[in-house]
């Protein structure tokens, strides 16, 4: 049973390639539209929404809205310019929130 859908939001040049493997692509260039699209996709029952790292901080509002629900998972991915470490930073914040100290960085 395949009931999960998957989408990528980001700048057109970086994400076009995802189309080749069957992931839906939503090119966005500004934060407001990206937020709107993310809301729309989240409501439409998408399982995973990948967002390019440069777009990720601009979508904070939509990300916060879906944080309390099991779906969709909103995941930052590096774009054509390479990784900025936003994903790892988010993980670090989570660890600090849960454990109190960052226990991963020195292991």
């Amino acid at each position: 049973m395949a009931n999960g859908k998957c989408a990528v939001i980001g700048d057109r040049d970086s994400i076009l390639i995802f189309k080749a493997v069957g992931i839906e692509v939503y090119p966005e260039s500004d934060g407001e539209h990206a937020n709107f699209t993310m809301h729309k996709l989240g409501r439409a029952g998408y399982a995973v929404i990948y967002v390019t790292e440069s777009m990720y901080p601009l979508c904070a509002e939509a990300i916060a809205e879906f944080a309390g629900e099991p779906y969709p998972a909103i995941i930052p991915i590096p774009d054509a310019l390479g990784t900025q470490g936003i994903g790892l930073k988010a993980l670090k914040e989570n660890v600090e929130k849960a454990v109190g100290v960052d226990i991963l960085s020195n292991s």
């Binding site: 999960g4 390639i17 080749a20 069957g22 839906e24 998972a73 995941i75 590096p78 993980l91 454990v99």
Partner: protein, 210 residues
């Protein structure tokens, strides 16, 4: 805010019961928190490892794609990629981690089935490399999505549980203790007042009969 109570035996026994419940709740919350943290650490480590791996591989795929874009015209790229050969099939379900609903994702399309969505005549080799690499990362990306969501859900839940544990330990239970102590003191005081009143009455009665 201090508890409101009347100094009666009934209230005392009610408070004692509530205190018992609070203590039991506190113990359970504490156990829940410890277990959550234990599981969280496992997920967080996996998350870190997956993220590093995925980012590294994705970067390579992206680099090939950038090269491909440089070699081909925008229209050609669009044409090649616009119609995917198949759409990705993901099975999404919800699993429970200590009664927190978290996502479970499984990729249904198998790796061998992968086909290029375009013909080879108008495309460069870099595009093939990029697409092939991306198809290989797909399961990784999906696992990353699942693990990352679980990690963030667990982190939220741990924070909430910790707050509850602290509220019970440092606010609720001390309040109950204080209230129970107060009521006991008041009841004892009443008892003493009663006794002395009785003694006094007895003394007066004895004086009258003399």
């Amino acid at each position: 805010m201090a508890l409101q109570y009347k100094p009666t035996r009934m209230e005392l026994s009610n408070l004692k019961k509530r205190r018992q419940v609070a203590i039991r709740g506190h113990k359970m919350m504490k156990d829940k928190r410890d277990e959550l943290v234990r599981r969280f650490i496992v997920y967080a480590r996996r998350n870190q490892q997956l993220r590093r791996e995925t980012e590294e591989k994705l970067n390579k795929a992206m680099q090939s794609f950038v090269l491909a874009r440089a070699m081909m015209s925008g229209d050609e790229i669009e044409e090649a990629l616009l119609y995917p050969a198949r759409s990705i099939a993901i099975d999404k379900s919800v699993q429970n981690v200590l009664s927190i609903p978290v996502p479970k994702l499984t990729l249904e399309t198998r790796q061998e089935e992968f086909v290029y969505p375009y013909g080879f005549s108008s495309t460069g080799a870099d595009l093939d490399t990029a697409v092939q690499a991306l198809a290989e990362i797909l399961p990784l990306m999906l696992e990353l999505a699942e693990v990352e969501k679980v990690t963030s859900r667990l982190a939220d839940e741990i924070e909430k549980t910790r707050r509850r544990v602290n509220a019970l330990e440092y606010v609720m239970i001390p309040q109950f203790d204080e209230a129970i102590h107060d009521i006991q003191m008041k009841l004892e005081e009443n008892e003493r007042g009663n006794t002395s009143r009785l003694m006094k009455t007895k003394e007066m009665l004895a004086k009258e009969t003399e």
